[in-house]
Amino acid sequence: MSGLAVEAAALGVLTGGVYALMASGLTLIFGVMRIINVGHGALVVLGAYLSFVLFRQWHIDPFLGLVVTMPVMFGLGVVLELVFIRPLRTDREALSVLVTYALALGIEGVLGLAFSANFQQLSVWYESAGVQVGDFHVAYVYGFGFLLSVAMLSGLGLLLTRTTFGAAVRATMLNRAAAQLIGIDVAMISAIAFGIGMATAAAGGVVFGITTAFNPGSHYDLISRLLTIIVLGGLGSFRGAIVAAVLMLVVQDVTAVLWSPTWAAFTFFALLTLVLVARPQGLYGMRVRE
C-alpha cells in the first residue's frame, strides 16, 4: 500500500510539473495585466488541437511541433490581446472574466466546427512505452512532459530575472502605474505577456493531448484546476504556481489511491481553505495596496 502511495506521489510530481507549466501562463498574464484569463483552459485545448493537426497531417512529433505551434500561439496571443483585452479601460479585472470567457466559448465553438465533438488523442509511441522503476512503470511522456516544463519554466525564469525585458515585466507586475511613469511601454509588455502565456498553453497542450482524450469542451475542467493552482500559489507568482500544482496533484493522487477518489478533491480544497485562512494572498502571493 505504501508502495502505491509512493507511485501516486511520483505521478503527482510529474503531472504537477505539466500543470505548473499550464498555470504559469495564467499567473504571468494576471501578474502583468491584472486580468483573470478564464479562457486559458480553452487555449491549452487549442494548443493540443494545433499539435494534433501537425501530427495527423504531416506526422510531426507533437514535442517537435512546438517549434511551430508556440510561435503561432504567441502571435495569436498578441492579436487577441490587441483586439479583446486592450479595449478594456475600466473595471478590467471583472470585465476580463466576461471577455475571456466569451473567448473560451468562441474557441470551443470554432474547434467544434472544425473537428466535431469527437474525442481526439495524440497517439505517440512514448505514450505507453517507458521505464520500469520498481513495481512502477513510468511512461516516457510523463518524463518528457516534466522535462519540458522544467526547461520552459527555467527559460521563463531567466527571461524575467536576467533581461531588461524581464525587468520591465517585473516592474509592470509590481506596479503598473509606476512602470508607466518611468517610461515602460506597459501596453507592449502586456501584449507580449499574453503571447508568452499562450505559448506556454501550447506547450502544456501537447502533454495534455498525449495523456488525455480531449474534445473542444475539455477546457471547463481544466480551467477550474488551473485557477485553483494560481489561487493557492498566489496570483502572479511563478514559484507559487509550481509549488501549488505539484502539491495539488500529489495530494489528490495519493488521497485517490489510499482512501477514495471521491475525497481527493475535498482533501485538497480543505488544505486550500486552511492555507487561505492563514495566508489570504496564497503561498507566495504578495499583499497589494491599491
Partner: protein, 404 residues
Amino acid sequence: MRRTLLGSAVILMLGLTGCANAGGSPGAGSGKPVVIGVSLSLDGDFSGDGKALQQGYDLWAADINARGGLLGRKVQLKYVNDASSTQQVVTNYQNLITRDRVDLTFGPFSSLLTIPASEIAARYGYAFPEPAGGGPHVFDRGLKNVFFVQPAPVVDNLVSYAKWLLALPADQRPKTAAYATEDDPFTQPQVDRARSLLEAAGVQTVSNKVYPAETTDFTPLALAVAQSHADVVVLGTQLPDAIAFIQTFEQQHYSPKSLVETTGPDQGAQFSDKIGTANTEGLLVPAGWWPDAKTTANDQFVKGFLAKYGGDAASISADAAEAYSVGEVVQQAVGRTNSLDNAKLIQAMHSGTFSTIQGNMAFDATGQPNGQSFLVQWQHGQTVPVYPPAVAVAKPEYPKPSWQ
C-alpha cells in the same frame, strides 16, 4: 424620461411579439411539419455521445420523411445544446415545450440528464421516449411518461457478464476482481450489481473505487487497479475514462484476464482509434445492439448510416442505433393512435410491443424495457455478441490476449 419611455416601448413590443408567438400553434394545419424537440450534449463531457445521438435522430427523420412523414406531415427535429449540464437540459426542455411549443420531445444523453429533463416533460404532459437514460433512478420517481428505448434496464447490463464468468470451468474462473466506476446514475448501479453477484459467488474484491464524474486525471485510479493485480476488471466508464484506464493498464503492462467497461468499447472507431485496434482484442461491453444484428430493418439502418456518414459498420456508435429506435417506437405509437396527442401516445407506448433495430421491446408501467442485454466482445477488429448463447455468434475469448 425619454429612456423610460423607450424602455416601456421595447417591453411592450417584446410582449406583443411573445403574444404573437403564443397565439400561433405549430400543430395546427396539416401542411406544417411535426416539430420534435431534443436537447443534445454537443459540448462538455457527453459531447461524443451527443453527436452520435444526433446522427441516429437525423437518420430516422430522413428515413421517415422519405416515406411521407408522420401522419402525412414532414418531421423536423429542433436541437438545442445542453453542454452536458443538468441545469441547461432543464432550461432547454422548458423552452422547447413552453416557448417553441414542439409537438413531441425525444430524450437527451445519459441518465444524469434524463432524470431532470423527464420531470419537465411530465409536468407538461409530454411523452418522453429516450435513448440513453436507463439508470434505476430514472424509473423510481413515479413518472408515467418515460420510455427507455433499449432492450434491458441498465442495472442488469452487467448481469450477463457476471453469469458468463461464473459459468466458466472452475479452474479458469477468476478468483479476484477489481472495480472502478464514476459516481454516475448510469454506471455505478451496473458495477455494484456485478460486484454483488461476483462476491456472492466467492470472487474476492481486491480494489473498489468510486470517482466523481468530473474527474479528468484517471491515471492514479488506473494505477490502483493495476497494482491490485486482479484477475478481472469491471469498469463503470464513459468514453474518455474507458480510454484512459486502458492506456494506463498498457503503460503498466497489466493485462487482466478479462476487462469489461460499461461504455467505451461500444463506441466504434472513436474507441478503437484511440487505443489501437490491436489492443481492442478481447475487450467486453454490455450492449443491446450490434451492427450485424438480424433485427427488423437493422440492415437498412446500417446501409443508410454508412451512406449518410461514411465509415464502416464497426465504427457505428450504439448511441446512434438507440436514438434511431426512439424514432421507430414513436412512429409506431403515432401510427397506432393516429394522433400526435401526447396523452394518447403515452398510453399506446405502455401497451403492445414495438419493433426496433434493437429488437422487439415493450415497456412496463415505469417505462423500463422487458428484454435482456447481451455481452459484446471485440474480436479481430469487430464487435460480436458472445453471451448469452442464444444471441452469441462467436465464443467468448478468455483470457483476453496481452496488450500489443
